[in-house]
């Protein structure tokens, strides 16, 4: 009960912060292209955006006949490395600002980067929660097997931050390479819990339950998006980013468990 009240307060706080940023996004975000969008738009997006961006892409194609959106979903850092090595792409959506900075610092961004979504960690547990995990502290209990993302990838950095904030010393059995790999260890019942994003649990229909914990508010993950400098289709890229920031895009993201500015 108490946890729920705390959560409600945090949600309200978060909402205030988010709406504050919403105004900035409106003014700095790319304007929708005034028609004339054609060809293929290549979007490199963080793996955690797989479901929501696939839907947004379909909506975008429906709204712009003749346009095709091609996605490449992978870990943000891997995508950033590809971009900096010259991979041809129009849009990059990263799961954290640090990874986005490696792209913009290398001069490969074009125009502003806009935060379009936020994500929080939850504790993913196998269906039925066999280890009876109710909060972060339970993860440090002896005999509880936990999978964390490696600190090199965004979800791992966020997990480290949340655990640090909670003062929970935790030794996982494995540092997974990305959030989906951590989640699949839960689905297969190999671990009792994993720290993953709320959206990842929302995206996987069965086998996994989410346990919310208050410290996750200390490790909120911003998702920035930008048009790339060498975009083969800059007009299409602007239009796609505008679509992500539109009401339609935002409702898809919220439905997937993201918070939107």
């Amino acid at each position: 009960m108490r946890a729920r009240r705390i959560r409600a307060t945090l949600a309200a706080l978060a909402l205030m912060v988010l709406t504050g940023c919403g105004g900035a996004a409106q003014t700095t975000g790319p304007r929708p292209a005034a028609g004339g969008v054609t060809g293929t738009v290549t979007v490199l997006a963080a793996a955690s955006l797989t479901e929501s961006f696939t839907r947004i892409g379909r909506d975008f194609e429906a709204a712009n006949p003749g346009v095709r959106v091609v996605f490449n979903f992978a870990g943000s850092s891997a995508l950033a490395a590809q971009i900096n090595q010259g991979a041809p792409a129009d849009v990059f959506a990263s799961a954290n600002p640090g990874t986005m900075r490696t792209v913009t610092d290398a001069g490969n961004g074009n125009g502003p980067t806009v935060t379009f979504a936020r994500n929080q960690l939850v504790i993913a547990v196998p269906e039925g929660n066999p280890a009876e995990v109710t909060g972060l502290a339970d993860l440090a209990r002896p005999g509880v097997k936990v999978a964390l993302c490696a600190e090199q990838v965004p979800c791992g950095a966020a997990a480290k931050q949340a655990l640090g904030a909670a003062g929970v010393p935790l030794t996982p059995v494995t540092w997974e390479r990305d959030v989906r790999a951590a989640l699949s260890k839960v689905k297969l019942g190999e671990v009792d819990a994993a720290l993953v994003y709320r959206t990842d649990v929302a995206a996987s229909t069965a086998d996994v339950d989410a346990v919310e914990f208050p410290e996750s508010a200390r490790a909120v993950n911003d998702y920035p998006i930008t048009v790339l400098k060498d975009a083969p289709n800059p007009v299409g890229a602007q239009a796609f980013v505008a679509h992500v920031l539109s009401d339609g895009g935002r409702s898809v993201l919220t439905g997937a468990g993201f918070q939107v500015p």
Partner: protein, 281 residues
């Protein structure tokens, strides 16, 4: 890269009397694709060497995780190769020397890990040997043993992916070997086990050696099945390829250094073994 002497006379008649050591003009139709193939294989390696951060190399090598991962890689690859030898050589013998219904199907099944993406292999291993898997659940309940997230799990993943290389090499050697030696031994009264150990094995030793090298090399470079089945924990399941992958997330230079270390050590070991055990014909 040594090319045969191109200055020699074009001797047209040598084709009729092949003498091995006489230098011959290499047909251009073979030489060009051969050199292209060599470049294709070697250039990415050169890319690593050229791009390597030589100035900071010593500091990077001195980082604590590097040696741990390297040692774990060498240990697990060797252990996996031993497992493959113990199980794979008998399996190859069975496929090459006996006839049983469904043998062709069995041979096809043996090659499945070759075509299976290693990550899928890792998932398959989890489904069988995982904590709630078919065999793994029983192991856990009976002995309290779980393979995932352990060094033994790394060995299992590597052996699963590498064993086909050994089996195929040894089976090929067995099929190519002259069975008359085995028949002669049998007429002299030797039992099948004695024939296997005293005649067959020495006969196909080069094939086994070649298969062992392939198997070890494959196990050493294994990534997908390992990280999926055994997870990633420094000192326990984090082998060099896993360390390289994670370094790639944040530090390209470190990834290159780790790759070079793995390459150098493995090539050095293979060359040393080749000089010692495998004198090419």
């Amino acid at each position: 890269m040594t090319l045969p002497d191109q200055q020699g006379d074009p001797v047209r008649t040598t084709a009729a009397s092949p003498r091995r050591h006489q230098p011959q003009r290499v047909p251009v139709a073979l030489l060009l694709p051969a050199v292209a193939g060599l470049l294709f294989l070697v250039l990415p390696l050169a890319g690593l060497v050229i791009r390597a951060p030589w100035s900071t190399l010593p500091q990077r090598l001195a980082q604590p995780g590097v040696l741990t991962a390297l040692r774990l890689s060498l240990q697990t690859a060797t252990a996996a190769t031993l497992v493959c030898l113990a199980l794979g050589v008998p399996l190859a013998w069975l496929l090459a020397r006996t006839d049983f219904p469904g043998r062709r199907l069995v041979r096809a099944l043996v090659t499945v890990p070759l075509v299976l993406p290693p990550v899928v292999g890792g998932v398959a291993l989890l489904l069988v040997f995982g904590r709630s898997g078919l065999v793994g659940g029983w192991l856990d309940a009976t002995f309290g043993v779980t393979l995932p997230f352990t060094t033994a799990g790394v060995v299992a993943a590597e052996a699963f992916v590498a064993m086909p290389f050994l089996v195929i090499a040894v089976e090929g050697a067995l099929r190519g070997a002259d069975t008359r030696y085995e028949e002669a031994a049998a007429t002299l009264g030797a039992g099948r086990w004695a024939i296997f150990t005293h005649v067959t094995l020495p006969l196909v030793a080069p094939g086994i050696a070649a298969g062992t090298v392939l198997c070890w090399a494959r196990a050493l470079g294994e990534f997908g099945a390992t990280i999926t089945f055994a997870g990633n924990y420094p000192g326990r399941t984090q082998t060099m390829p896993l360390a390289v992958y994670l370094a790639l997330e944040t530090d390209l230079d470190m990834a290159i250094v780790l790759s070079l270390v793995l390459l150098t050590v493995s090539v050095a070991i293979l060359v040393a073994l080749r000089d010692r055990w495998l004198t090419s014909p």
